[in-house]
Symmetry: C2
Subunit: 251 residues, 2 copies
DNA sequence: CGTTAGCTTGATTTTCATCAATACTCGTGG
DNA sequence: CCACGAGTATTGATGAAAATCAAGCTAACG
């Protein structure tokens, strides 16, 4: 498909092989996330303008996209793969604040710098716009803001659910809750649920759930001992007792 | 296990002394939060329409406004006072997901029911709209969605900061961080910062920070023993050593 | 194969929750 | 005005959950 010049560029000290290619032609109409992304509500005219101003970005697993504090000049829609968003304390403690999946966007900032770090969890491709282009297009297409508001509101709802998990759940509940939400997403995206793929490392899971890797590991083995799940591989889970898992996940 | 944190009132069925009055005349132009609320961007025409469709709601401290699962038919802007948003686990564990201050709004839901509980932290007055009125007005005033997007984005940023606190900070860091953010807000709102008022109970602080009331209390006394703060009253704090407090708050 | 990064398991310590008692605050009625 | 009582906050003793420290695994890759 589209060939791109691949380059290794340090982004703020972060080494990432990130390839970019400007696109010719009318990709937007045939975009894989056409029906789900913020641009789903745009008419053909606006889509044509988007086609002018977007760029495709390809990331390898673990590549950084942007960092907290960088100038927020770009805005991205995820086409494929997944990103993680994280925040750090000065001494290195990390909290993953969310995962970004195909159709969702990242990089919309309240101020003029990004407020978190975005990195690729897997290989990923993204559709990139400059914030100024986006604003321009948005002004002529008010339904875009309304769509983005709805999507942001969804993200906020998830964030609040996650606060309940972080502040009030115990380790087994956190893990169970994590697994059920992965299961939901996988089945929503027509991906296999048995075994379920865990696309992220134990460290990522730990930093997402507010635990250590040791506790994550121990909790998995405990759930396994309790016959609630099985771990055919480190990165695959299959659920034996869904009742019990859901029970735990609810708190 | 204590199931009920607010023993005073049966919350189910929303027992609350809540007074409503439909408004005559053109309040919107003179509204106390005119320059800060989502309606700040509206023109006179739209304001006139808002005047038609809004209602004032007055809440006493601890009154409930809505509960998780209720039909999300109304939308509110806080005029004065403060609300808390919370989520519950089935066994009663509670997480406060945020506080809502004058100028901010509550009740915008991704789906058709509310996703959290909203209660008055202090006496409060709110401006109420039906969601359908709001949508109608929004369709003719696209800048409204854009303003609401910006405000929601701000809230999302706060939510993510709070996830870092909940998942990765220790009790003294949580308390210090809580105090510095209260100080910031108080000074932004031209309210006294020394002593700083704590408008919420220990239970609210605990449920906001993911701690127990005992740990909150002990942490306050420890900060006091370390001469970082003083507690002239239970609900007032004054900071003796701002350096140290900020140091702690940063992690 | 050997090396390494990631994962698991075990022993110990730390932090915070829980349980329990005591003190403070404020409103009410004697 | 004081005494009482309910609600709220503090303090203390103990326990449990999870973090930390420290080896061992396991699997992927040269």
């Amino acid at each position: 498909m589209n060939l791109s010049r691949s380059q290794t560029e340090p982004v703020n000290g972060m080494v990432c092989r990130r390839s970019e290619a400007s696109t010719a032609g009318s990709f937007c109409q045939n975009c894989v996330v056409r029906t789900r992304a913020f641009c789903a509500v745009l008419d053909d005219d606006a889509l044509a303008r988007l086609d002018q101003s977007h760029t495709i970005v390809n990331l390898d697993s673990e590549d950084g996209l942007f960092m907290e504090g960088d100038d927020a000049t770009s805005f991205f829609t995820v086409l494929s793969g997944a990103l993680r968003l994280s925040k750090l304390l000065p001494d290195g403690r990390r909290q993953i604040t969310g995962f970004v999946l195909p159709g969702e966007f990242v990089g919309l900032s309240a101020g003029d710098t990004y407020v978190d770090n975005a990195e690729a969890l897997t290989e990923a491709s993204l559709c990139r716009f400059t914030v100024s282009d986006l604003k321009r297009i948005g002004q002529d297409n008010p339904e875009m803001d309304s769509q983005m508001l709805a999507m942001t509101n969804n993200t906020l709802t998830q964030a609040r659910d996650h606060m309940l998990l972080l502040g009030r759940m115990k380790a087994p509940e956190k893990i169970a809750s994590f697994l059920t939400s992965l299961l939901d997403r996988a089945s929503a995206a027509d991906q296999p649920t048995d075994p379920l793929a865990l696309p992220m490392s134990r460290a990522d899971i730990a930093d997402y759930l507010g635990l250590t890797i040791e506790t994550v590991s121990r909790t998995f083995t405990r759930l396994k001992a309790d016959k609630i799940i099985a771990l055919p591989e480190h990165n695959r889970v299959s659920v034996n007792n869904m009742e019990a898992l859901v029970q735990l996940a609810e708190g």
